[in-house]
């Protein structure tokens, strides 16, 4: 960590002002109250409140590399006693070197003043020590808070990344198999499906970069996805959309709908031999976009296990993005299954 006085100018300013003020008060008191000669007072003030603060700023390093947590208390005490002695020695030596030219004739000032000067040095050392420990503590606390919020942001990012839906390999290989079949029977349709699949894949890869997209785009992508699946399932899959036109401008997390339709196909279309309708209803109310996706399912063949991993991931993703755990509702009507997403908008969509 850097020296707080050289890197924090406010603290440096405060440090200089504090000792300057103390020094001035000292001179005023000594000269006006105790009638000390001005020269003596200046010398005293200079060494105590200018020289010591200069030397004392180095105490920072003694605490910086001897943290209370890492070094045992006895060692710490011994270390600081030695450091204090060295600092006081230097300080007193320089002080007296400065005194010499001015006070050659007055022995009492120098001799009698020595013990109290040394004592004052130790006391000041202790005060500086406390001051720097406080500064150090405050600085590391601030740094910790900063790092913590950085970590939190990183974790959020990582979580969101993990929750984003990946294209199901099952879907991909089955689609490729359909294409393989179409190349024999209907090459034109095969080509169309290759293009649809590519467009869909491109969109789903794009969502690694962008978090929010317009509802129109997301909806286009869903229709593309359904058109690919429709090639596989034929008339077994029937999709209906009921969408308020003014909802189309709304913003929505990228690829948040696809897993819901995948789920509807997996439990609805895949498990039955009859036609299954997936109905999508979108409404805007104030600054909420409400999307309901309903699909029939055959209750006699599957025991629904509530939320699978797909739905859980959507719920978590919504919770992280919007900071609200109640934006996804799952309702099992026994013969149909309904998922509702509520997507908050920055401003009311009208």
């Amino acid at each position: 960590m850097k020296h707080p006085l050289t890197h924090n100018y406010r603290l440096l300013g405060f440090y200089i002002f504090f000792w300057a003020a103390i020094g001035v008060i000292n001179i005023i008191l000594q000269v006006l109250w105790y009638n000390v000669p001005l020269v003596y007072s200046l010398l005293d003030t200079g060494t105590n409140y200018v020289l010591f603060p200069l030397l004392g700023s180095s105490i920072w390093y003694s605490i910086r590399y001897n943290s209370v947590e890492e070094v045992s208390v006895p060692r710490l005490i011994i270390f600081h006693l030695i450091a204090a002695s060295i600092l006081c020695g230097i300080w007193v030596y320089i002080s007296y070197a400065i005194y010499q030219p001015f006070i050659r004739d007055n022995n009492t000032f120098l001799k009698d003043g020595l013990p109290s000067k040394i004592f004052a040095g130790y006391i000041m050392y202790a005060i500086y020590l406390i001051f720097f420990y406080a500064v150090n503590y405050y600085q590391s606390l601030k740094e910790k808070i900063k790092k913590e919020s950085e970590y939190k942001a990183l974790i959020r990012e990582a979580e969101l990344q993990a929750l984003k839906s990946q294209i199901n390999p099952h879907f991909l290989f089955n689609s490729l198999n359909s294409i393989s079949s179409l190349t024999v029977s209907n090459p034109e349709k095969a080509q169309e499906m290759v293009i649809n699949l590519s467009t869909f894949m491109r969109y789903s890869l794009m969502h690694n970069e962008k978090e929010m997209v317009s509802f129109t785009r997301e909806l286009e992508n869903i229709k593309l996805y359904l058109s690919i699946e429709k090639v596989r399932f034929g008339k077994k899959l029937n999709a209906e959309f009921e969408i308020d036109a003014h909802c189309l401008e709304a913003e929505i997390p990228n690829m948040i709908l696809q897993p819901l339709f995948e789920n509807a196909i997996k439990y609805g279309v895949y498990e039955t031999t009859d036609q299954v309708t997936i109905k999508t209803i979108c409404k805007c109310e104030g600054n909420l976009l409400k999307i309901n996706i309903v699909n029939d399912y055959d209750a006699s063949t599957i025991k629904r296990r509530g939320e699978g991993i797909g739905l859980r991931n959507i719920r978590k993703r919504m919770e992280i993005i919007y900071n609200n755990p109640d934006l996804m509702k799952v309702i099992d009507h026994k013969t149909s299954f309904e998922v509702q997403l509520i997507i908050p908008q920055k401003q009311a969509v009208s």
Partner: protein
């Protein structure tokens, strides 16, 4: 080979069926005798037509390809087809049964047919392998349904419909709210594949669904019986270890 292999295609997707048919169309040793769109029809067709070879999709509506095998009286040679199922792949590797990964080439398909022909010529019996395969279930921790066949009808029993299971030598009898169904599986299979939070092996001969237990009675020193909630108040014997398990699950 003097006669053509009587072949059945069981596959729910039309395009996938078309592809298989076009691949097999002019194969000298294959005669496609039928196509089925789902597992129910598949079981019926296999038991009636007794084909030599079946192309079987795994993921299908109603019942899966694996579940179908459990219901077969007659076990033909099977070539599985699947798009992507890591657990199924694992199962195949363990059992060395033929499988084709969608999309597959004609050459790959022909190679699989050659393997089957070789097996038929050497009169290898693969019914045991198929049996093993149908027990293999590493994908989910516990089963959530059981498929059974009574005479000509296939039933899908979701596990919460099961009241209890009784052992009958090589078979088990599964008692549900609307009747009972026989199945060729071991008690061990059900003990390991049913969620132990809901099903307890209370005795060598019984596995009971906890929700259907009405009472536990002591009828001798250190021996107990379970009374079920049905109108007959069915009584089932409880072994010593069975009693311990009940206590653990029901916390008393």
């Amino acid at each position: 080979m003097s006669e053509k292999l009587q072949t059945l295609i069981i596959e729910d997707e039309e395009l996938a069926r078309n592809l298989l048919r076009s691949y097999l169309k002019d194969h000298p040793d294959i005669e496609v005798i039928g196509e089925c769109e789902n597992g129910f029809d598949g079981v019926k067709a296999i038991n009636e037509k007794k084909p030599d070879l079946v192309f079987l999709d795994i993921q299908m509506p109603k019942i899966t390809g694996f579940e179908m095998i459990e219901l077969l009286d007659f076990k033909p040679q099977i070539i599985f087809t699947t798009a992507y199922d890591q657990y199924a792949l694992k199962a195949f590797e363990l059992n060395a049964v033929d499988y084709l990964l969608k999309p597959f080439s004609k050459d790959r398909l022909l190679a699989a047919i050659e393997k089957v022909k070789h097996r038929i010529l050497n009169e290898e019996d693969n019914s045991e392998k198929l049996e093993e395969l149908s027990n293999f279930r590493p994908g989910e921790e516990f089963i959530d349904r059981v498929v059974v066949k009574d005479r000509h009808k296939i039933h899908i029993i979701t596990v919460d419909q099961i009241r209890y299971i009784e052992s009958l030598d090589d078979y088990v009898m599964i008692y549900t709210n609307d009747g009972r169904h026989m199945k060729q599986k071991t008690m061990k299979y059900f003990e390991t594949n049913l969620d132990p939070k809901n099903f307890i092996r209370i005795h060598r001969s019984y596995i009971v669904h906890v929700d259907h237990i009405a009472e536990i009675q002591q009828y001798e020193k250190e021996s107990y019986i379970v009374i079920l909630k049905d109108k007959d108040k069915t009584k089932l014997k409880v072994s010593k270890t069975g009693y311990k398990k009940i206590k653990e699950v029901l916390h008393f």
